[in-house]
């Protein structure tokens, strides 16, 4: 049987075949989860928010008017929900910029030979957490474009459609966000360059 397009599934759901919504959930659940997790940084919160978004989408299917693709419309609801969630929670992440810089350098000195010791693995994990926190610390307008472009592989044009913001604005936000990230990662003083993973 030929796979139905998202828009075709919606037409059928609105005619009473609500069970087909499970197909839409199947198609979008993992990618949505990944996007949400970048905002919540907590699995249970991501699960709750994902459920909330899918129910919101279902309840508003009758408002979908085919002007944009379903994917764009879906992510518009999802990203707005994530931003609202962040504002309500007013997440305060512990920024590594406040940590002792000497401590950071001291940790790096322990990474010596090629074989990763358990300590090295732990340090790498800490570094990853640091990078994630740097992204989380970005102002919201930059954080959103970073998540959608760098993590979720949306193009600037798709991001423009999702956020309903001109593409030129998205391009300059991506440019500016990258400058900020570069500056903050470099300021961690890991020898002046990006750490190779």
């Amino acid at each position: 049987m030929e796979k139905l397009k998202d828009e075709e599934i919606i037409v059928l759901i609105l005619k009473g075949k609500e069970q087909l919504y499970s197909e839409l959930v199947l198609r979008y659940q993992n990618r949505l989860f990944s996007t949400i997790y970048h905002y919540t940084r907590d699995y249970e919160d991501a699960k709750d928010l994902a459920q909330e978004i899918f129910i919101k989408v279902y309840n508003n299917l009758h408002k979908y008017n085919n002007k944009a693709s379903f994917s764009t419309w879906f992510y518009r609801i999802a990203v707005n929900s994530c931003i609202d969630w962040t504002r309500k929670r007013r997440l305060v992440t512990v920024s590594t910029f406040e940590t002792d810089e000497n401590e950071e350098i001291h940790i790096l000195e322990h990474i010596s030979d090629d074989t990763p010791s358990p300590e090295d693995v732990l340090l790498k994990e800490e570094y990853k957490t640091t990078i994630k926190n740097i992204v989380m610390d970005l102002p919201e307008i930059y954080k959103t474009v970073v998540i959608l472009y760098y993590y979720e592989d949306f193009s600037p044009r798709e991001i423009s459609d999702i956020l309903n913001i001109p593409k030129k604005t998205i391009d300059s936000r991506l440019y500016r966000a990258r400058d900020i990230l570069k500056s903050r990662i470099t300021n961690m003083e890991y020898g002046g360059g990006a750490f190779e993973l």
């Binding site: 993992n30 992204v135 440019y175 993973l197």
Partner: protein, 155 residues
């Protein structure tokens, strides 16, 4: 030199889109040609790629939990978009009733013209009514006059 700088400035803003496959056709060819000959823009493109590798490498692979679809389907209102048989019948009944009412109204409009007997002129009926109203006003004037006499002692 000024033209080259302008091109670099314009191209730098397009590099994210170029890398993501947004740019097509002539614009894509022009960007590729420019990058081949411009170390600055080439370096910018590499930095975007490096940043993508770095951030992706630091991210967690998170998947939806088992049973997530079942949870969603359990929590949605399955009747929301159901077209119920009762609603269809009710709609048909309402339509039928509306049509009958419309028919009755049309019938009455068509037959109303002949309600007045032909021997009675419409204008004489109106004149008679106006005369009756005028008489009543005259009587009312008399009543108010008597009330004023009582209140102000005939002044």
């Amino acid at each position: 030199m000024e033209v080259e700088r302008l091109n670099c400035s314009r191209i730098k803003n397009s590099l994210h889109g170029y890398l993501a496959g947004d740019i097509e056709g002539l614009e894509k060819i022009l960007i590729e040609e420019h990058i081949k000959s411009c170390n600055v823009c080439k370096e910018e493109l590499e930095q975007i790629k490096d940043m993508k590798r770095l951030l992706k490498g630091c991210s967690d692979d998170v998947l939806a939990p088992q049973g997530f679809i079942t949870d969603i389907m359990t929590n949605i209102d399955v009747k929301r978009y159901k077209i119920s048989q009762k609603n269809v019948v009710y709609s048909l009944k309402s339509l039928g009733a509306s049509l009958v009412c419309a028919g009755i109204m049309l019938f009455m409009l068509n037959t109303n013209v002949e309600v007045l007997p032909n021997s009675i002129e419409p204008m004489s009926v109106i004149d008679k009514g106006v005369t009756q109203i005028a008489d009543k006003i005259m009587k009312l004037d008399g009543i108010t006059g008597r009330i004023e006499n009582k209140l102000y002692g005939g002044m």
